[in-house]
């Protein structure tokens, strides 16, 4: 309304301006022009409604990951790796059709100082629904600049894949080192302190204390402070399109009757386990533009040192010292095209200890090759086909074809590098 009045005024005034070039009229025209642009600006300025939060904006961001697999295995009947225990989470996917984990994550700021995140995964095993609290933690950076404190139940910050939710992995299953040294991932109740140094380049140091209930620890030894970790991360860019992240971590666990076999009367390890991990990740995109394509290559090296006793007496075996070293590594890479097609390859290797107790003594090197092809229609949906061949022991191989879908609903998840 004001706009049209102003326009009419200008229209009425203009002939008067042409008729006379009095400076007084010029000043009035300028004033009107300023008022006109002010009205236009009001139309373009953000209205209070635009920045008002909706009723549900204080509710947590919720995201749901749905996944399922179809698997065909051949070769050996059972899956095992000479010289290593394969945890329940490291076992191959069930033959045929199977619903994978459905993972629900809720997160929100609690108040100006605290942030909370909760992740629960549901899976079905033998007709029973199993729920597993993967993470439930509070985080705050209110202590000091660059300092992050996390407490509750969460994935340890050691290594690279360990603190990432499995649905962000390149491959459908985890590397052999994770399946054997960590039973897929190490997470526990505890506290984590991380500090990002105020430097030009990224350098972060961290330390954790955990209860020590989960593999490789057990029994919440040392009065429920059975695990301590330390880690350091460094990363930078290379040129316009490349970036890398390096990590060095150490996990020290006290095991009090940790189950090292799957039988009803498992062999139990009691003692100290120290695992050192070196990880390196490199990513590259043309001009640093991820939409044009992305290349990722990654490797982690696990070095384990055990010092304790393996008690196999429950199943009629022996009590034996177990002090020695084992290690393993993987190298994986993938390329994602601008159209969302992806191709990847991975090599896994484990080196056992020929001087370990009989159950684990081995000088065979289990190894696995995996290749993958897939399609991502968007950031939220993914379908992939994976083939792998595992050399389990001197005489047996295990081959797998896996087809998996993975879909994400809800809030846009924040992904780490």
């Amino acid at each position: 309304m004001r706009f049209s009045i102003l326009a009419a005024l200008l229209g009425a005034l203009l002939p008067a301006v042409w008729a006379s070039d009095s400076p007084d009229l010029e000043a009035r025209v300028q004033q009107l022009e300023q008022q006109l642009s002010a009205v236009q600006n009001n139309q373009l300025a953000a209205s209070p409604a635009a920045t008002q939060a909706s009723a549900s904006s204080f509710n947590p961001a919720a995201s749901l990951i749905l996944s399922g697999t179809y698997a065909e295995h051949s070769g050996a009947d059972d899956y095992s790796l000479a010289g290593f225990h394969v945890g329940s989470e490291g076992q191959p996917k069930s033959d045929g059709f199977a619903l994978g984990e459905s993972e629900l994550t809720l997160s929100a700021n609690v108040d100006d100082k605290f942030y909370g995140q909760f992740t629960i995964s549901f899976s079905e095993e033998n007709g029973e629904t199993k729920s597993d609290i993967e993470e439930s933690y509070i985080e705050t950076s209110a202590l000091a600049d660059g300092l992050n404190l996390r407490f509750g139940h969460f994935l340890s910050g050691v290594g690279y894949l360990n603190s990432h939710h499995a649905h962000t992995d390149i491959f459908i299953d985890r590397p052999l080192v994770y399946g054997s040294f960590f039973n897929h991932h190490y997470g526990d109740d505890g506290v984590q302190l991380r500090y990002v140094l105020p430097l030009d380049k990224y350098l972060e140091v961290g330390a954790e204390f955990f209860r020590g209930d989960n593999y490789p620890a057990a029994g919440a030894a040392n009065n429920g402070r059975g695990v301590d970790t330390q880690f350091i991360r460094f990363g930078d860019d290379i040129g316009i399109g490349g970036s890398y992240l390096l990590g060095l971590s150490r996990l020290h666990a006290r095991a009090d009757n940790a189950e090292e076999t799957d039988s009803n009367n498992p062999a139990l390890f009691t003692g100290d386990i120290t695992i050192t991990i070196v990880d390196a990740t490199f990513k590259w995109s043309p001009q640093g533009n991820k939409k044009l394509g992305q290349f990722v290559v990654r490797s982690e090296l696990f070095a384990e040192q055990r010092d304790g006793v393996l008690d196999d007496t429950q199943s009629g075996g022996f009590l034996a010292d177990w002090s020695g070293k084992r290690n393993g590594y993987y190298v994986e890479g993938e390329y994602i095209t601008s159209g969302g097609y992806e191709f990847g390859g991975r090599w896994d290797e484990l080196h056992g200890d020929s001087k370990a107790p009989a159950l684990f003594a081995s000088d065979y090197v289990p190894q696995r090759i995996s290749v993958m092809a897939g399609w991502r229609n968007s950031e939220f949906s993914r379908i992939q086909l994976q083939w792998s061949r595992t050399g389990m022991n001197e005489s047996e191989n295990y081959n797998s074809w896996l087809l998996q879908y993975q879909m994400s609903l809800g809030a846009h998840g924040a992904h780490k590098f």
């Binding site: 642009s37 236009q40 600006n41 139309q43 373009l44 300025a45 953000a46 209205s47 635009a50 920045t51 100006d112 942030y115 985080e139 950076s141 209110a142 000091a144 600049d145 660059g146 300092l147 992050n148 991380r194 500090y195 990002v196 140094l197 105020p198 430097l199 030009d200 380049k201 990224y202 350098l203 972060e204 991360r233 460094f234 990363g235 930078d236 860019d237 316009i240 970036s243 890398y244 992240l245 990513k283 001009q287 640093g288 533009n289 991820k290 939409k291 044009l292 601008s338 159209g339 969302g340 229609n377 968007s378 950031e379 939220f380 609903l409 846009h412 924040a414 992904h415 780490k416 590098f417």
Partner: protein, 298 residues
């Protein structure tokens, strides 16, 4: 002799009161350019992305965390444009200064946005709930944003408040004069039809009165499919389309295909500061965008 000069310069630094430029983290080059106009040497700006990158998808990589760690002020578009990476950076960096939200300036929050979606549904592609965030190509909105940026800088860096206000007072008339000039320059583009790849040229088209008759993406954020491109080709052949226009960071293949098939020119616009050689300031960005659009003679 070397020690003497070190001591002298240290002494000079102490004597000057240590004039410290405000450390600023700018998500995109357009805000880096705006900060140069409003902040000049009172700000030290790190720009996180380049005109060759699609800012919808950026890795929250270590170098960005390090920069976020030490910054004192953040300027980004907002409206969920950076939702895939910015929250990860602020979370990991643990920068306490940024807990004061006055130090987080979102350009899209300062102006009314076009195309606010009625329904939020991922079947419609990657939709931004608050509206179209690609505001840097609308000079009117940029002027409002510049004013608010000057006000916010004055609030956060109070000792230099007068400086920022003065810089804005010098910028505004130059910009307004340029706006008149651009409108005159682009007068014969009014009413023309163009085909774009994504919604990112919406505000420029709106301001210049150009019609976007089709988009190469079937839905926002999804790569062009053969089926959809066939439809776009039919649209291009059914009416007079002036040009296929894309941003410098976008994959040109589909645009090149359509340009060849429909026999219409393909124009690559800078989209933001740094996208072409001439688009090295906010003024250059608009100058070159209009010049490139006008170059098309058909």
């Amino acid at each position: 002799m070397r020690y003497l000069s070190v001591i002298l310069s240290a002494g000079l630094l102490l004597a000057s009161g240590g004039s410290h430029a405000l450390e600023v983290f700018a998500c995109e080059p357009e805000w880096g350019a705006m900060l140069q106009e409003i902040g000049a040497d009172k700000v030290s700006v790190y720009v996180a992305t380049s005109a060759q990158q699609d800012v919808h998808q950026v890795e929250a990589r270590p170098s960005l965390i390090a920069k976020m760690r030490r910054t004192e002020f953040v300027v980004c578009t907002g409206a969920e444009l950076e939702v895939g990476w910015l929250p990860q950076l602020t979370q990991q960096a643990g920068n306490q200064l940024l807990q004061n939200h006055d130090r987080l300036f979102y350009a899209a929050e300062q102006v009314a946005l076009l195309d606010k979606p009625g329904q939020l549904d991922r079947s419609q592609g990657d939709v931004h709930a608050a509206g179209n965030p690609h505001v840097q190509l609308d000079p009117q909105r940029m002027l409002i944003i510049a004013q608010h940026l000057a006000e916010r800088l004055a609030l956060v860096d109070a000792p230099n408040a007068a400086f920022y206000q003065q810089r804005y007072q010098q910028f505004a008339p130059r910009w307004q004069e340029a706006m008149t000039h651009w409108q005159q320059q682009a007068a014969d583009l009014r009413g023309k039809n163009i085909i774009v790849r994504h919604d990112n040229l919406r505000y420029l088209a709106e301001w210049l009165g150009i019609n976007v008759v089709a988009k190469l993406e079937p839905k926002p954020g999804l790569p062009p499919t053969s089926a959809h491109l066939a439809e776009v080709l039919a649209i291009a052949q059914a009416q007079h389309v002036y040009a296929v226009v894309q941003a410098a960071y976008e994959d040109p293949h589909s645009g090149e295909w359509l340009s060849g098939k429909a026999d219409i020119p393909l124009k690559i616009l800078p989209y933001t500061v740094g996208g072409t050689d001439k688009a090295n300031t906010l003024f250059g960005l608009m100058d070159d965008s209009i010049a490139l659009l006008k170059q098309v003679k058909k």
